[in-house]
Symmetry: C2
Subunit: 170 residues, 2 copies
């Protein structure tokens, strides 16, 4: 396989994987494109390379910037904006974890807290106890995941690959 071919395949594949973890295809493809590009790219270049519309690039670039996965670059003497991708895979991973946590864990825990507010008079029932036990089990698990996500997010790479992975080792 040629290098360029591999890069193209990478962009396509990253787009597909993105959809598996809640990132839309174009957003993931733009991100992949920035990852394999040596130079920052303009909106027009991205439109051309991915064959998508201007609006699509614009919206998804904003999302990428919002996630911290891309940044705007202005070049002196150039009118158009350029975009560069975060190339440090560790940082990319941390940012993705952060967003997923925000979308997947936080709202879950919020809802669980609300569900615990049940009328006093019903609290004698066995059925109540079973229900609350389940809610609390879920929340306890969610809390653990939250802590793990937090730790991973703040940790540095060497703690992760060293200390943590040694502990996890088979």
């Amino acid at each position: 396989m040629k290098l360029d071919e591999a890069k193209t395949k990478f962009v396509e594949a990253w787009g597909t994987f993105g959809t598996n973890w809640g990132i839309n295809r174009t957003m993931a493809q733009i991100h992949a494109l920035l990852l394999v590009s040596n130079e920052p790219l303009t909106t027009d270049q991205i439109m051309e390379l991915l064959d998508v519309s201007r609006g699509n690039v614009n919206m998804n670039m904003r999302a990428l910037i919002d996630w911290g996965l891309a940044e705007r670059i202005t070049k002196l003497g150039e009118r158009a904006e350029f975009f560069a991708g975060e190339k440090d895979i560790w940082k990319v991973a941390v940012k993705i974890i952060r967003e997923r946590r925000k979308r997947e864990i936080d709202p879950l825990r919020k809802t669980l807290r609300e569900l615990k507010m049940i009328d006093d008079k019903e609290q004698k029932k066995d059925e109540y106890k079973t229900f609350i036990k389940m809610i609390e089990d879920i929340d306890s698990y969610a809390e653990s995941m939250d802590r793990i996500a937090d730790k991973l997010t703040l940790a540095d790479q060497s703690w992760f690959y060293g200390t943590l992975m040694k502990m996890i080792a088979k």
Copy 2:
């Protein structure tokens, strides 16, 4: 809030969260319904309670059984099949992790392996080195996640809440 009200809210909420982690709404709602039901339910009961079609219940029940989140129950003297949900939240979590790993990590690593097969003559280029470095960084991170998922999946609850969480503790 009344207990029944809370249960209904839980079913609705679980449906919404499901979609955030790649499970469709009905599948997650059926799962939630089984979680809050004291007795196993029939297809007709689920149709009635969730107000969805027979085909929908049937397809999503199969998926739940496939994931190991529900099981078929036959009652002596009853013609219809009943379904019960896995109530142990720890086991539920383990099964969800297993499926997500299968969908999110395995195919990624497979693709990355394929992308490394680049023509010899291009391997001198700096551009090649940068690309391969990135692919390997991603794979190394994916491998770590894979190991963590594996460990979590095989671990027992006490190791998770005890040993691991102590290590992660802030």
